[in-house]
């Protein structure tokens, strides 16, 4: 049975914890709004880009002479998994869910006899994957110094990925991130970026192409990779803040419950102590 003093200290410390989690929740809410705005602002570009590229891709096809980023390099042996996670913790299951998906995918690929390489973006994913996939690591991109993810960051990742592809060190590139659905729901998603995959669009509008369809497509594909990565980074950013917000909301509520319980316990033992003292005095007086 903890003493009254212990209980009091305990209540004090839980109250402090609640203050901190509450503050973190509010910070996350503010950041979430910004992240969502950024994701929203990037949407028109990504949508137009995908629309034009899929129209082009449908026109050019994946036959002989098609750009490698679209048709692949004809092999399917080495898979590069780009695992995008956060730089900071305390965001609930955010990182674990991405890592879980990446891990099961990697295990599947290895079971099929493929080679798996992993490029991590964000510190937390690296820490979690380090134990069983450290041998597959080919690189890490640190975004901890980056305050606001910009297109330049996505370009840097895209450059690295495309360099690996061109050097023949990777045949298929897949990115893993959390798609933002709502504050309480983020969907771990895997998306193949090289060779590029497009949903078949219906009738493509009739356009004149200048220079040629192929030239434009060749010019656009690398940008397309960067755009997809950029979108993923932004979605991930919004998801991270959303996950943190709900995790901190839970933590705040738990701390509140805990304080209530401890307060009841404290009051009970205080009363018990008083009663005990009274009984002692009364029985002492009766004995006289």
């Amino acid at each position: 049975m903890p003493s009254l003093k212990d209980l009091k200290n305990r209540i004090g410390s839980v109250k402090n914890t609640r203050k901190i989690t509450k503050a973190m929740q509010m910070v996350a809410a503010a950041k979430l709004r910004r992240a969502q705005e950024a994701a929203e602002a990037a949407r028109p570009f990504a949508e137009r880009m995908t629309a034009v590229m899929s129209a082009l891709a449908a026109g050019v096809g994946t036959g002989e002479g098609a750009p490698k980023l679209l048709a692949g390099n004809g092999r399917d042996q080495v898979h590069l998994l780009v695992v995008m996670t956060s730089e900071r913790g305390l965001c609930g299951g955010f990182n674990s869910s991405i890592v879980k998906l990446a891990r099961s995918r990697a295990a599947d690929l290895v079971a099929q006899g493929k080679t798996v390489k992993i490029l991590t973006v964000g510190k937390k994913g690296r820490e979690q994957l380090k134990r069983d996939w450290a041998n597959a690591f080919v690189g890490h991109i640190d975004l901890s110094e980056v305050k606001r993810v910009g297109y330049a960051n996505a370009q840097a990742i895209a450059r690295e990925v495309m360099a690996a592809f061109e050097a023949g060190e990777a045949d298929v590139v897949t990115i893993f991130y959390n798609r933002f659905q709502s504050v309480i729901s983020q969907i771990p998603t895997e998306q193949q970026v090289i060779p590029a995959k497009f949903e078949a669009t219906g009738a493509s509008a009739l356009y004149d192409y200048e220079p040629s369809e192929e030239a434009i497509l060749a010019d656009l594909l690398p940008r397309g990779v960067a755009t997809q990565i950029f979108t993923a980074l932004l979605e991930n950013g919004a998801s991270e803040q959303g996950a943190r917000m709900s995790a901190m909301d839970n933590a705040t509520r738990n701390a509140g419950d805990m304080i209530n319980k401890l307060t009841i316990q404290y009051n009970r033992s205080r009363q018990a102590a008083i009663t005990k003292e009274l009984i002692e005095i009364i029985s002492g007086a009766e004995a006289l």
Partner: protein
Amino acid sequence: MASTLQFDLVSPERRLASVPATEVQIPGANGDLTAMEGHAATITSLRPGLLKVVNAEGTKAYVVTGGFAEISASGVTVLAEQAVPLDELTAPQLDALVAEASQAAALSSDKDAADKLVADLQAMRIAAGL
């Protein structure tokens, strides 16, 4: 009043402009072109250069570094990798762009294309009057 077409300029990070325009001058990869209402549907890639939008309020110029433009009879959508309104662009920013491109040119396997990019940027610099 000439008839207008809808002009949208989007960069990966935000939408920079969405205004009606009477004509849009685009620095296409194969040469400049001007889109007006009723232009044949065209998709062209961009070279670094000045993008000019003319409408009732006057002419507004943007510096773009690459990307593509989608022209239809009723509108122009420019997807630029980087786009900055000309009056907000400063000489150091341009210098950084040129430096970046020259650095890339030094490493690039496609020497011609990379050198052309640097030349385009320098030409743009003169056009921008910085």
